[in-house]
């Protein structure tokens, strides 16, 4: 078992058999457990019983993470008469932690929050750093807050039960961490190894601690996500986040090469590693849809989409503290060509 403190106020516990600690924290408090419907009847029901929490659920999937579901959850909390002393526990993947975190952050200006990530992606990425969000029709994660949970509990026993597709989802983020910041992860990569998971968590904690509100270095976590989010939006969220990030990382490595920063050798190594993912473009893909989706990327400044770029495996470019670089349509074109051909070439 490991405990990691994430400033300003989060204690992250990862290991096995964490129930007793959670019980102690919840003892004597009214708690509402909000879980992904996929685990409601199983893991979440047992958990709610063990900590004496009321159980609510949200439908699975990225399309749940919207304004309507946020309003629905808030209404349920009002109807249950929840007050400022009520504890909110989010149990599920990144969709659940993002959505429930947002709800907890605005209900009476903020309730105490505990996250119980149950997917590899949420364990290594979504649960860390205080970002909450919902999607809008203009794009992914465009409405949200920075709001820090009091505790995160990640149960390694739960991860063992994940379907392969969910492992791939988390894997894409772990590989991304290897590409931008932790070359050791890239080299020694073995996704069965908890040590690899710890390293990915530590990488993210180091980055968000340096720059909690994403004014500078935290932007590098968006590597692979500028195209990745746009692809998810174009697919109407039929593409999983992991698949989109994997294709996004490969394409943004191509862009890094195209812009003269990354060697061809490193680029090819990136593509080889990500080949374990399907890397297929979504059925609804057209280039004009993708370009339109890029228009609402949050890194955009003065009408130009900005990308995080790498100059070698394990290192993102600083660009004098901006950690991202404006890219024109003309500069992006060869990368989009590559991405579209990649699909037909397989």
């Amino acid at each position: 078992m490991k405990k990691i403190l994430i400033p300003p106020s989060t204690e992250y516990t990862i290991g096995r058999d964490l129930l007793k600690q959670l019980q102690e924290i919840c003892s004597g408090q009214r708690a509402i457990l909000i879980a992904d419907a996929a685990i409601k009847e199983t893991y979440a029901a047992d958990l709610a019983k063990a900590i004496d929490a009321e159980l609510l659920s949200i439908p699975s999937g990225e399309r749940t993470k919207n304004e309507e579901m946020k309003q629905n959850l808030l209404s349920q909390l009002f109807q249950l008469g929840c007050d400022k002393e009520t504890l909110i526990i989010a149990c599920g993947g990144g969709v659940t932690t993002d959505l429930v975190g947002f709800v907890a952050s605005v209900y009476m200006r903020g309730l105490s929050l505990i996250l119980i990530p149950t997917t590899l992606l949420a364990v290594v990425d979504a649960s860390i750093g205080g970002k909450t969000a919902i999607n809008t029709r203009y794009g992914k994660n465009l409405i949200g807050t920075f709001y820090h949970p009091k505790h995160i509990f990640a149960d390694l026993n739960v991860l063992k039960t994940l379907p392969e597709k969910e492992w791939f989802n988390g894997l894409a983020e772990i590989l991304k961490m290897g590409l931008i910041y932790k070359p050791a992860i890239w080299e020694s990569f073995n996704f069965q190894d908890p040590e690899c998971i710890f390293q990915a968590i530590e990488g993210k904690v180091e980055i968000v601690t340096q720059d909690p509100t994403e004014q500078s270095i935290r932007r590098i976590l968006n590597f692979g996500h500028t195209l990745g989010h746009a692809l998810e939006l174009v697919s109407d969220y039929e593409m999983s986040h992991g698949e989109a990030v994997a294709l996004g990382c490969a394409a943004e490595a191509h862009l890094s090469m195209q812009m003269g920063y990354l060697s061809q050798e490193d680029f090819e190594q990136v593509v080889r590693r990500f080949s374990q993912f399907s890397l297929e473009l979504p059925k609804k893909y057209t280039r004009s849809k993708l370009l339109s989706a890029l228009l609402h990327d949050k890194k955009k400044a003065r009408s130009q989409t900005r990308f995080v770029l790498i100059d070698k495996i394990g290192h993102a470019l600083a660009f004098e503290g901006a950690y991202c670089q404006a890219v024109t349509h003309a500069q992006l074109e060869p990368t989009l060509n590559w991405m579209e051909e990649w699909k037909s070439g397989r």
Copy 2:
């Protein structure tokens, strides 16, 4: 002109002829000025032109501060293509600063925010301390965030043009500050005097600095507001905030006496001072509606409504750090009787 620093990151400037400073801050940035419709064509239009900002507006009145208007503003910002570098400027009273502050806090997880309060109430109270909010059908300010503006600019020249009703609105909050924390304000009260306004601002800044997220002493600012908010809700926001707070303060002073903390002499002094307000119950008032509205008060804990109480003019009770006290229906009854009779007695 005075400058007051409000931790963690707000600079409050109050005085006359502040335009030049605002121009310097906005220079070279895209800015959206969101103003109360009542001042859109006059003050706000001139201001927007002077700082080269795009101008949006919201309808006047407390009923505007709702989910629908929040969504409407967010959609307008998306349609205008606002990005994380866009500056949001809220110009108007407390409704405007609360609503626009909330919108700025969740758009792409937070845009830089400047408040230009144009009512006495917003100058001395609503603009200070980072609270943003919208109302729900369950009650007032039940959804919101803590989010700090970079700057607040209060122009004393604008205050001079306020209608009398707006002066009374702010007056109620200034008197409340005198009751709970700054006896000097209560004694020397002259609402034409900027010094009195400065003192009220300083009182609020001292309190929110000690307890930014309202875990303890900041609760005393809710004196008069537990009944006040419930009255506003019962009136369907036909009652102004100042009128509701004035009646709330008188009634909660009665409760403080009833619970054995405040002398009858002090209570009578409070009532005399607040008699300059109409202190009428809203037309739609019934006791059961009021009790039902109290159920969603944010200070509520374990199903009991809690009240801030005073033991003399200028001092709220600490209750071992809770700064509020559970009150049963039976204990509240004499105060509700007093409040209802007060109406018919006038």
